[in-house]
Structures are given as C-alpha cells and as structure tokens.
Symmetry: D2
Subunit: 412 residues, 4 copies
C-alpha cells in the first residue's frame, strides 16, 4: 500500500456506531488501517477520540478515501492546505474534486480557515475571491459550475464537524420517569416542541409534503397550522397543489380510497379540469385573488403570504402554472429558501423529501413522517444525523399536531 | 356436461361485483352456465335478480359447485330437502359434507326450514333431534365431530342469505354535502358511532388486539375505553398480555423501536421475568388481586370484570397461566364468547383477527385497523361483506377513538 | 334532475366488474340512472349490453358525467356530432374540453368518424384541418395547447372502445389442466411469450426501469436481453443510468444493501464522480465511444444502437448530460418513442412507470414488476385494462427472463 | 449507585457495533459505567477488548443488568461461582433466575466449568446431578420446570461466548474482485454453498416454511430439493401442509392471487375437504401409503423418510391429524429435532420462523427469505448474530436454489 495518512476523530464514537461505520468505509474503499491511539472517555458521557493511520494503494485512492471519511467527521491530523484547480467546462468539476457533505465544513487556505457558507451534499467547493482580496468558500452543484471557477480538489485543508447526536436527536428522548410510554403521542408533542423552539429562535419552519396529506384528510389541520404561523415555506410537487385545489373546486373524494389514493389521479377528469382552471387564471395566487380558489392549503399559503416552491416531475399532468418544469431551476428555487430554516417536516413524499434532504444543512433538525417504513428509512438514514423518522399515518399525525399547536383548533 | 341445476340470486348484483364473482366461481370449478333470466332493477336502488342454469361434469362436481355458489348467496331454485349422513369417526365429517359460510343459513328438513344457530365458516352442519322430536341445526367444526352425528351432505335443502351491502357498510359512507373530505377523522367517528349503536342495542363489543397496541403507546386510551364500557371482551395472544404486564411491572420501553417493536421481545429478559411473575401468582386475576399488577389493559379488564380469551402460539414464551396452549380449546373458548357480539374491532394482529373472522357471523360489523395494508386486506376481503379495513396507526387511532368516546379522556 | 342522456355499453359487463364501476361513477358524480334494457349473454362467453338513461342536475354536470363514463367504454346512444371551441391561450384548453382516455377513440364530425391518432390520458382532442380539407384528430397535452387550436368540448360525437379483457389479459391465463400451479415461473414464461409475439409482429419493445434493476444485480441479465434484441427503447431517470455507469466505472457495491439500496446514492461519492466523468465526456454515447464506459446497460444500449429517454427529477445529482431536466420536454421525448410499441415492461420504478402509463395507448400490453405491492397496484389499476402487475424480485425475475429468452445466457 | 461489578468483553467490538449496544443496554437498565481499560487492536483484523465497571442502584438491579450484558458476550471479570435455588412450583422459575441466551454458555460450579448442553433463548438453567455425582447443566423452558429442580440464579459463575462475526456471516461476503455485483444470484449461490458444506460436515438441514411456498409455485423446486437430500427436517404449520395437499388433491389455483394468496383459504371449500380427507386417512403418512396423496411436498417428505413437525395456530381449520394442537407440545417436538442441525432456511413464515429462532443455538447459520422486509428484519435482528435476511420472492428463490443444487432439475 503506497499511500498513507493519519486521521483523527472525536465524539461519541462507540455508542453512536460511528467508529464501526468508519472502519467499514475503509474496507469498502479497499484501504487498510492501524489504530494508533484510542482514548476512550471513562464516564458514560465523555467523548472518545481515535487516531488512525489509513493506507491505500495510491494517492488518488487515498484522497477518495479521505474524502469519504470526512463524511463521518474524520479529519486529517495535519490538515495541510486546500488545493484548488480551475473548472474547465460549464457544468463539469475538475478531476479529483472534493465531494461535499451537508456537515459544517471549514477550508484552510494560506493558513486561514474559511467556513463553507451553505453546506449541501454532493457538490463541489468553490473559492470566491473578491476584488478586495476577501475570500469566501461555498458549495456549487455540478450543474452550476462555470469555467474558471476555483474548485477544491483532494481532501487536504478541509475539516468537517459532525454534530453531537444530542444536539438534534435529544429532542426525541423520552422524558425520564414516565410511568407509561406513549410513543406516538409523545412524538407528536416533541415535534410540536421542536417547532415552537425553532420559531422562538427566529428560525423558519419548512414543510415538504406530498398529495397523501390531502388524501388522508389533513387539509383542515394543515390550514390551521398555516394560519397559526407554523408553516413558513412549503416544498411540494404538482400533485399536492393540484389535489388540494381540486378538493377546493370540486370537493371530490379521492381520499377515501385507502392506501391507493395517491395513484388514482389519472382518468379522474376533475384533476385535469382543476389544472386547466388554474392555468387559465395564470397562477395560484391570481386564482386566489380572483376568488376561483377559496379554500384549502394553497389558498391559506397565498392569503397568509407564505412561500411555496413547486417542482414538477415526469408524471405530472398540466402542470399548474407555478410549477417549475425544469428540475434544476426547481432545485435552485429550493436552495434559495433554505437559509434560516430551523426545523423541517417531511410528510408523505419520498421524491421531494430526498431532494430537500440533499440541500439542507445537517444542523437543521428534520422529521420525516410517512406510513411507508421504507420512505422513512431512506430519509432518516442519509449519512447525516439530523433525521428522525416516524412511521405513522399523516392524517392522524397532523390532526394531533394541530390540536397540540393551534389553541382554538377543534378538529377536522 | 352431465349434471345441471337451476339457481337464483337476488340483490345488488351488479354494483357490488357479486355477479362477476359468481361467474368466476363457476369457471374456476370447471363448470359452465347459461343465464336464463336477468331482471335488472330500473332505478338506482332496485335490487336485480338472475336465474342461471349451471352445469358440471358429474353430480359430485355439481354439488361442490353449488356449495361454493351458496357462499355468494346463490340458492337452488328448487331447494329440495337436505340430506344427512352419519359421521363415522371422531373428528371426521362424512364425504360430501356441506361446507358452511358465516352467512345466515337455513336448512330444509321434512318440509320445514331450520335456521342455523351459529353460522361460522368452514364447518359442517349437524342436525340435532331432541327426545321430544324438536330439531335444531348448528355448525360443527371438524375437530368436534363425534361418531353418529347427523351431518348435512350436498347442497340440497339449503338456503343462504347475503346481507345487503348497506346494512353493514353504510355506516362508513361519508355524509353527503361535506365541504371537506376528512377520511381518518371521519372513520374514527364512524367507528365510534357504530360502537355506541351496538351498545345501545344491547350488544356486546368484541376487541381483538395484538401487542402493537402496547408498543404504539395506546395503553392509556385502551384502559379508558375499558373503563368507559366500550370493551366487553378481548381476544388476544400471549404477547399482548405479557407486554402490557411487563409495562406495568417494569415500565420498559419496547415501544420506542418504531416499526420493529413487536419482534424484540426475545432476549429482553424483562419479558420472561414478567411471565414468571404471573405464573407464580397463578393467574392474571390473582396477580391483580394481590396487587402485583396495578395498571394496564389486563388490570383494567380484571377490575372492570370484563372477559378475555388468550390463545397461545408456537412462538410464545411462558406463557401466561391464562393462555390456552391448545389452539382447539382456544377456539372453543372464543366461540363461547361470540354470542351477542354486535361490533368487532381488530387492532394490529393478523393471527387472532383471522381466527376471529372465521367464527364470527357475517351479520356482525367488523373493523380491522392495522398499519400494514396486507393484514387489512386479508381481513376485509374474506368473502363475507361485513369487513371494513382501515390502514392507519393503531396508536393514534385509539387516541382519537378515546377522545371521541370517553368524555373525560384527556389524552395519553 | 334537469338533464339526461341515454347511453349504451357492450362487453363482458358483469364478469369484469365494469358495470358496477359504471354505476359507482354515476353516483360519485351526483347523477342518477335508470337501466332501460339489459341484454345478458346467455352462454358463458357471450357479451352483454345495457342501455341506461343517466341524469344530472344540469347540462354541464351531465357532460362531465358522460365524459367520465366514456372512460369505461360507455357511449351515447345517439352520439351526435362533436363540438369544438378554439383555445384562447397558450397552454390552456377551452372550458368544457373533452378529457381523454388512452382507449381507442373516434370522433364524429360532419357525419364522418375520425380515429384519434395517439390515444393518451388526460389530454384534449384537437381537430386538425389540412389545406386540402383533410381532417385528423389527435390528443394534445394541456401544455402543448396553442391559441386557435380547435378543441373538442363536451362528450357529443365521441365513441370510445374498451378492449375486451381477453385481448390483453388472456396472455396471463394459466394453461388448463396443469397438475401443478407455478405462478412465478409461469408468469415469466408468459411475459417471454408476449415479448416474442410482439417482436414477431414487428412491434417494438419498450422498457421502463429504475435503479433497483442495478441494485438487484440484474445488469448481466439486462445486457443479455439488450444484445438479444429484446429491448428497443428504455425510459428511465438519472438514477438508473448513473448507478449503471458507476458500477461500470468503480464496481462498487451499493446493491448489497437489501431493501435500502436505492436510497443510499447520496453521500457515496462514487456516484457524483461517475456523473462528473460523463458530463466531461459530453454524453453517454461519447463516453462509450471513448472507451470511458466499457460495460453495463447503457453501454449495451449505445453499442446496439437502441434508444433511450432519460427524464430527470428534483432529487437528481448531476445529472447526466443526456437527461432531460425539463419534465415537459422529457414527456415530449417519451411520446415520440411510443409509436409502434407492442409490449411494455416496467421494472422497479414508480415515477417513470406512471409517466409511461399516462402516454401509452390502452392497446399496448404492459407488465409492471416490483417488489413493492403498492407500486404494482398503482400501475395495474389505472382504469384501463392493459396492465398486469407482478409482485416479485426484479433481480430474480430478469435472471429467469434472460434464461427464457436468450439461448446462450448462462446466468449472472 | 450502591452495587458495582467489573466486566470484560473481547471481540470486534467497534466494527460490529457491539460496544455501542452494550452501552445502550447499561443506560436502558438505569445503570452507569466507567470504561477502565480499552485495548483496541491495531491492525484491521485484531480483536479489541474492554474492561468496564458497571454500577446499578442495588444488587438485584445489578444482577439483572449483568444477565442482560451477557447476551452481548460481556462476562464478569471475576466470574465467581454459580448460585442455584430450587424451583418451588411446576412451571415457575425461582426469583432472580438466570435468563438464557442461545449463545454458547458455560457455568462454573465448585470451581469446574460446565458447558450448557442446549443453548436456547429465554429459558432457565438447570443443574442436573447424576447418582454418581456427574453434573450437567441444561436449559429448561419455563413451562417444563418441575419442583425441586436446581436452577441458576443471578449472573455469577456464568460465561457466554459470542461467535465471531466471521464464523457465520463470512459465508455471505462477496468474493473480492468481481467485476459485477450480483446480489440475488450471489446470495442464492452462497446459500447453496452453505447447505452443501453443512451436509458435508454431517449436519442436518432444517427448513421452516409457510404456505407462501406453495402459493408462489415453488412446490416442484421444493420437492426436487427434498429428493436430492437437501431437506432433513421441515417445521411448518397446518397451512403449508394443507395447501400442499389441497394442491395435490384438487390442483386448485389459490396461488395466482398475487400478494393476497395466503389469506384466501377460508371460504374456499377445497381447503376443508382436503383436511377432512387426511383426517379420514388418519395421518399424512397413511394418506401417502394409501395413494390418496400422490404428489407434493408432504408426499416427498414421507416417501423420502424425512422428518416434519407441524405446529398449529388459533387460525387453523381442521387441522391435519399430524398437527400439534398444543403449542407447548409442538415446541417440545421442535426442540427434539434441533440437535445436529447445521443450517436453517426460513421461508415465508413469520410465526414458525420466530419460534424456531428461539430454540436454535446461535452457532447454527440461518437464512430468512421473505418478500416482506419486516419479517426478515425480525428474524435477522434477534440479538444473536447468526441470522441473515434476504428480501426476495420465495418462488423464484427456490427455483434458483434448485437449479443450483439439483443437477437434473429442469425448472418448474
């Protein structure tokens, strides 16, 4: 093995399972390791730290392995200096580019450390130098790369911090000493507390929702939460908005088809008629202003002046005029809304939840609620530790959440 | 085709899909048919009726086909007289025995019609003659057959009535004219209404529940429902009672393992310790009397003098002393509790729900609640039309149901 | 009820359940009905026909109901003449537009019937008149509407044919008289037969596939099917192509994460590196030509000169340069490939399968294979009767299919 | 905290996640800990070892915690001597009994170590002393406890060995250097290799199977495996055997109802007729001898003189005469077959798989195959590390397995 580097990692290495994942990664990348020192905390809550020498066949492999390990918060003992290379083509990162995580990341250039401004997964890092010599480092998605951008290559000069598990997940710890465990009710209450806390901290509340919210009968609860100020921004697709508006226009009852509800839109012509009606109005906001749409989630968002980003997909009819049909433009619109988000709820949508998880910094607590365990697993297990999954019915969950958060909510 | 018979069927044949299932059955059994007359109701709510000549290769095949069709409410035009044959061995029905449904069934003997006393699926029909010549007909499970019993063979002399869809399922129709559809909340309310109605009619309320009720945090809601008189009888297995009691004794928190909770009992020694403790007491009731168990579902049932039947399975530890370890004895104990049941709720258990569905007459409305769609489908699609499935979280469902039914319930 | 119309429908009304769905629709739309005549076939395979008078509150409601009923093959007794209205705005259909199905549809204008050229769901019907007076009628998706287009409004002058169940689904009937039932093996063989038949008929074979095909280890089987001429066109997203290429470039083993495999792409930097590599090449075809990609599904498609359409989604990284990032352009590219398709297989993707189902005529047999029952249900239950769902493992399914179709395939 | 004890554990503590589970356990039981020494292996494959002082509120709590930790292979530094107490009642273990795991366990008495003969979960340990003073220690299930039995109490004098992960799971590691990953095909081959190996080692092959095996069309593959000597013992319920025999007798086609197949037995009278037929014969073996049953899985087991244990459940009809209706007797019959088992396959049954997992020593490799991920998770995550889960279709899996293991198998 021709190349080696000494790395270190500190934290609750053992009881969070992180160390075992680190060692798995080394093996998966064909590397080898030797644990040089391991300092275990003696008391239950002490952090531990390890210094590990990792080896790979050659330097390119080693750099890829080191980048991989940084997703676990493993940094080089001697961080060195970041190396950059210019992008040569639009939309293409230079070879050996550093592939980002959504963790807090610092980059060392000429001896100074720069905080990455908008941590996001699977991007490059671009070094921006202002005319006055001021430097900034930010993530750039592959599709936004411009020729000449100075992009970090290799893992040198980069440090990544993994949030301590407690900072996010503690919100979900059961209160000690309770005679009865009350998982679902407790979880709703913990989500309510997290949302109140984020709002009190001046943060924004981001929701990501699929059409199942409408089918499950949660429109009244959702509207109440919007009106009470617990929804600042909604990310969704064409389906949620269309079903909500179809509901408002026609009062039809797709929702009673248990389990299958989200698949029945096609062939049900109310759906396309609702789409055509809003296309005729020009936008959802205009349809609300004109009195065409007088109720529902989209109506509440418009009248309460909340923000929403709707991004389309290949399966869409219509779509609504507000929908981004270009998915890269949709991603850019979503990125523009991520700043200052302090809590994120994901409800009954896998596509938009994964998309949001990609661009949200690891410091934002997120909760994914879905009746399908596999969706919850995908969101909650995304390498970062901010996710929390709740496998339950979104209809009853939102009903309970509204009862918890909205003082005068009387139930659907 | 050597044998034929003319049958007739009346009801909402087309809009309930019954006719298509009848024709499917004939084909599946290798038979053929000719529709002699078809009288369709002209208005939307008129019943229709059909007279069909069915043919099969030989008389034995024809008899089997006719028995099959009776599960759909298809009766012979000329019912004829029932034929009986004596059982020759313990636990064995005579060849060609009539295999029952759980529908209302009448049997004609010497020109008189006798109502089958306890309709149940997959049994034989036994003719009982009292010393004074009085006759009764009742179902007998295969395992309870005694030599000499007079058992009905063939389909002659038997009439079966399919309940009209409305009589059971109408309870679930959404109220007309509602501005918003509110499926989950509406469904909870409909279940609550059905339970109140059954209780007002002097009927008993039967629950069938699995350990998921405990894991989902629904113990407080369930206890409140017991105390408020909405649980007359509970059918369950060893696991529900053990987890409930473990909870009461140790307050341990299996329930927080979302999704996987019901599988973790083994290796978790509190579980076996709870079992041993109750075995030492001799029975659950004695453990309650002695103050060993002071809270929980089983405690509430004992102190409110409600009935429960616990039937074991091969995967059980212990089991609790109250558990029937012989499944046939368990079935008999369940049968003994079925009379006068007017509503049945099935929560988070497939094994005991299927077992209960087998012995419950088709006239009893039943609701199956489970987060797993396949369990709900199995219960709701059992050939009889009394079933209603709700795919949702049992924890939040019971919380909402208790809020609906128990005036002073303040939530878990 | 102020407006009424007499309609008729012919076919296997009862044993296919169609009649009960028709009557459900009438009720769902707030209408009422009277069955005027019902002519039931007497023998088992005779079609039946019904004449029904439907009523609605007003003419607009009636027209909507009639359009709905046409999705079931219910046509007006007196079809009348089609009425058209000009579109006034780009992307907006005129009020009262006829909303299409993907069934065979004819439109009557000036006494002549015109076959709709490309039946597709949820579109409008546009009447094209050539300079020489020649007329054509074709579907137009809402987003492609141009001002001045003559669009059919209302249900008059339109006839829809529902394919007889046998024409598509009979391919799946088990052979009579088989001693053993062999569902999965039989189903694979039936799919193989259907594909051979379509190819022999000069039709094209369309595949729709998700990344699960790669994760399940089916790359060798898929490549063998491409090389043997059983894949003419592939519809997919960015993920399938990227995972396939990542596999080819790095040989990494996402696939061993059972169940969770499709969610782990993010954070696994090989994924973004593969994307960047192909973006640098400029296209997948160029990367194949340059020897950058030397194996895998995309490589086989390129070298065998087969067609593929990749349409992106909001969750994509990269994406690959061949991916349509605008979903409407992606839909158009898919539509351009649908002509002459004689068989469609959908594998492990809900998003692209639904999108394809929307644009595929009902006359094309389609088979959806997925380990997730809910995806299969959504595709197979889309109102048209061409769908067939198989709940199984795509890896083993494709392995068996390749063994069946490719003479020298020796297994993965 | 009043009581403490020093424990030690050795193994691949970090990369297997074991250490984090140990620390979780201590917290879950309300204890505290201090890590005294931690000796980490330096090279990648070195084991590591830790010495930990654990504390609890009182000695009883400490003993319970120590017993819990032994399920992880954590033993007391000073093992001390085992303490026994006599059982006082039938079926009741003494207070403070040691609750077993299915790991290799040794008990120290009077300075000597005795190997526990039949490790099994959730039992007590009974000390048997022969007339000649010879001692043995074996597990005793709670229900088999007799008054006077000497039962181990507390955790002193007990040592538990956790198998190294490699010894079982290595069988599943992908071969290095493979160009393509082929999960499903590779997994089938690994299972085949494991079965051949166990057979070559003179071990017996145990199968646990549910009715889904029949519904999925795998009867021919299963029969071929029986005839080729790859099935020594079958554990199943009433349903598998009944469906198999119904198939043989009537050739009916329950299996074509994808996904729902296992729920449809009731109401389908062939099912009860098959049961009655075998009850009349007196046993399955007799029905085979008499030519009543001439094909299928049960026929193959009988004619090849293989063993089977059928244990009933509350949902059973009939049952077949061979079925244990008392679940405790059924468990005893299963225990009697467990000796010398060297490989266990579990197919499409949760109930009997969990039951088998309870009584099988941790040294036996077991593979659970099911299309339902939650069943696989429950079996594979049972605290011991011998389990391996494969989420796939049992029909295609068995087809592939038979092609792999049976030279002349030509496919279903």
């Amino acid at each position: 093995m021709g190349a080696s580097e000494t790395v270190e990692v500190t934290g609750h290495l053992m009881d969070s399972g992180i160390l075992s994942r680190i060692l798995d990664d080394i093996r998966d990348y064909g590397g080898d390791y030797q644990i040089d020192t391991f300092d275990v905390g003696h008391e239950a809550h002490d952090p531990s730290s390890a210094r590990i020498t990792v080896r790979a066949d050659d330097d390119a492999s080693l750099q890829r392995l080191l980048m991989r390990l940084q997703t676990r918060g493993v940094n080089q003992l001697d961080p060195g200096e970041a190396v950059t290379a210019p992008a040569e083509r639009t939309g293409v990162l230079p070879d050996g580019f550093y592939s980002t995580t959504n963790l807090e990341t610092r980059v060392r250039i000429d001896g100074d450390w720069y905080e990455v401004e908008n941590p996001e997964m699977d991007c490059g890092l671009v070094l921006l130098e202002a005319a006055d010599g001021g430097r900034r480092v930010r993530t750039v998605p592959m599709s936004d790369v411009e020729p000449g951008m100075q992009v970090v290559v290799g893992a040198s000069g980069i440090q990544v911090s993994v949030p301590s598990p407690g900072s996010v997940a503690d919100a979900f710890a059961p209160a000690p000493g309770e005679a009865y465990e009350r998982p679902q009710a407790v979880l709703v209450r913990q989500v309510a507390d997290g949302m109140r806390q984020a709002r009190d901290d001046g943060k924004r509340l981001l929701w990501v929702a699929g059409p199942g919210v409408v089918h499950a009968g949660a429109v009244p609860a959702f509207v109440a939460l919007v009106r009470a100020g617990f929804v600042d921004t909604l990310f969704a697709g064409n389906a949620l908005a269309t079903h909500d508006i179809e509901f408002s226009l026609y009062g039809t009852s797709l929702g009673l088809d248990l389990g299958l509800a989200q698949g029945v839109e096609h062939g049900h012509e109310h759906h396309v008629r609702a789409l055509n009606t809003i296309r005729k109005s020009g936008s959802i906001a205009r349809a609300v202003e004109d009195g065409v749409v007088a109720s529902g989630i989209m109506h509440a968002l418009v009248t309460e002046q909340k923000r929403f980003v709707l991004v389309g997909s290949v399966r869409d009819d219509g779509p609504l005029p507000d929908v981004y049909t270009d998915v890269l433009e949709g991603q850019r619109a979503m990125r523009a809304e991520v700043a200052d988000v302090g809590y994120c709820l994901m409800m009954a949508t896998q596509l938009h939840s994964v998309a949001t998880g990609n661009i949200l910094p690891a410091t934002v607590p997120l909760v994914c609620v879905d009746i399908n365990p596999s969706t919850v697993t995908k969101i909650a297990d995304r390498g970062s530790n901010q996710g929390r999954g709740i496998v339950t019915d979104v209809g009853l969950f939102l009903e309970q959440l509204a009862l918890e958060l909205v003082p005068d909510y009387r139930g659907a």
